[in-house]
């Protein structure tokens, strides 16, 4: 399970949080954790939305 993180400065999501092991994963195409996340999304899953008002 994943949760999006919103950047405080830009208010955009550039990082996703993996809840199972508290890992912050950047949206970087060569990052294998990000590749696993994309495969998870491709299976039809949806991450939890980012909290509003915090990063």
């Amino acid at each position: 399970m994943y949760k999006l993180i919103k950047d405080t400065l830009t208010n955009e999501s550039k990082v996703v949080f993996r809840l199972s092991d508290n890992t912050c994963i950047p949206f970087a195409p060569d990052n294998t954790d990000y590749q696993t996340y994309l495969a998870w999304v491709a299976e039809g899953n949806t991450p939890q939305p980012a909290d509003e008002g915090t990063q």
Partner: protein, 403 residues
């Protein structure tokens, strides 16, 4: 100057001349038959030279941490591999698999049981045994970055031969599997190596003709995936040994070889490995002992921990964006393979005009040389500058860019 002339049986002659200096010079010939090296001839790689074509100054061994000395994540602690923790990194650059929900379990940790010339090995101990079926499989592996194999020319007519060597020791004997695969898991080279005697170190050497087919990445992706199999069902078992073969289930990582001994089948079985080396050429040369600092830096391209063991050294400087967020920069020790994932362990302290204990530290943005992080604190004045350090006990900012 006196000389001795040895005339050939039919033609030619060899002249041995004493030097035109005072004193006695002794020339001792080898006790075995052979050829004296001719001036201008390169020493072969097998004799510790640089060879004539491959030039082994530098990165002879494409395996990183092959002597199992670097353990940034676990510092010697045991890691349990099971269906829940099914793909952990163990020692630096090495990882383990329990794929497809296998009920078997095993642990991995750094060991000091070693063959002569080494100080560490990687120990695997089977916990719960399993007879895997289907796509269930168990292994340990290292994935070599494509940038580090670009000179092998794999996938072309000029593909270089390589030799994989390692020391291994197990409580059970038999023929164990090791497999080389490309990033697409479309082609494989499988081999069985024999451990003839229980609890005795055996040096394994496998020479592999370079593949002329298949796509082999020479980027920062997976170049070669090497798996030492501990057992797998038929869905992850290779049927051919000793030759590059198309994977009939392309895209599926193979972890086993038909007829192999399955370590996972024996509860309590142990398996030690060290001195892992993959080198260009058809001969297993001596292990490439790199300086510790060099080996450590090589590992840090894939995993970097910025630790504070309690000294409260600074970890990064930044500024309070507002009264609840301290934004700071952490610089990695070496450039990383890609923008890394981030975790933190332990408790930190943000120093502005006084100390604040963050309730969390999260990643805001990551590059290959540094990361912007956010520490959640309460109370400071916005726009105040400061830095973050350990809270007084062991803590660490951890960055992972593993393959």
């Amino acid at each position: 100057m006196a000389s001795v002339v040895i005339n050939g049986d039919t033609s030619g002659a060899v002249t041995i001349s004493a030097p035109a200096v005072a004193g006695t010079t002794t020339l001792t010939l080898p006790t075995t038959s052979g050829t004296i090296l001719q001036s201008g001839t390169a020493v072969t790689e097998a004799q510790g030279g640089t060879g004539t074509t491959t030039g082994y100054y530098g990165f002879k061994n494409r395996i990183i941490n092959g002597a199992m000395v670097i353990d940034q994540r676990n510092a010697g602690a045991s890691v349990t591999v099971n269906s829940s923790n099914n793909n952990p990194n163990t020692l630096d650059r090495f990882a383990a698999y329990d794929v497809n929900g296998g009920s078997g379990t095993f642990t991995q940790q750094q060991s000091t049981t070693v063959p002569a010339g080494f100080v560490n090995s990687l120990l695997t101990t089977v916990g719960t045994a399993d007879t895997p079926t289907g796509n269930v499989g168990y292994s340990m592996y290292q994935r070599i970055e494509g940038l580090n194999i670009s000179d092998l020319n794999w996938g072309t007519a000029d593909a270089s031969t390589v030799t994989l060597s390692f020391w291994v020791r197990s409580s059970i004997t038999g023929n164990f599997p090791v497999l080389l695969q490309n990033s697409a898991y479309a082609v494989y080279y499988a081999s069985l190596y024999n451990i003839p005697t229980a609890n005795t170190w055996t040096k394994i050497s496998i020479t592999i003709t370079g593949p002329t087919t298949g796509t082999w990445l020479t980027t920062n992706g997976i170049g070669i995936d090497i798996n030492w199999g501990f057992g797998a069902g038929s869905g992850r078992t290779a049927g051919t040994t000793g030759a590059w073969t198309s994977n009939p289930t392309s895209g599926t990582i193979l972890l086993n070889v038909t007829g192999a001994t399955q370590l996972i089948g024996t509860s309590g079985a142990t398996f030690f490995i060290t001195g892992v080396q993959l080198e260009k050429g058809s001969t297993a040369t001596s292990f490439d002992y790199r300086p510790y600092g060099t080996e450590f830096n090589l590992c840090q391209r894939y995993y970097s921990a910025l630790p504070d063991t309690g000294a409260q050294n600074g970890l990064g400087a930044g500024v309070c964006l507002n009264t609840s967020n301290f934004y700071f920069v952490a610089v990695y020790p070496v450039p990383m393979r890609t923008a890394p994932s981030f975790t933190s362990t332990g408790t930190f302290q943000v120093i502005v005009t006084t100390g604040y204990t963050p309730s969390s530290v999260t990643l805001s943005a990551a590059g290959t040389t540094s990361a912007a992080l956010l520490a959640a604190i309460s109370g400071p004045t916005a726009a105040s500058g400061g830095f973050i350090r350990g809270g007084g006990s062991a803590c660490s900012l951890n960055f992972s860019a593993e393959l």
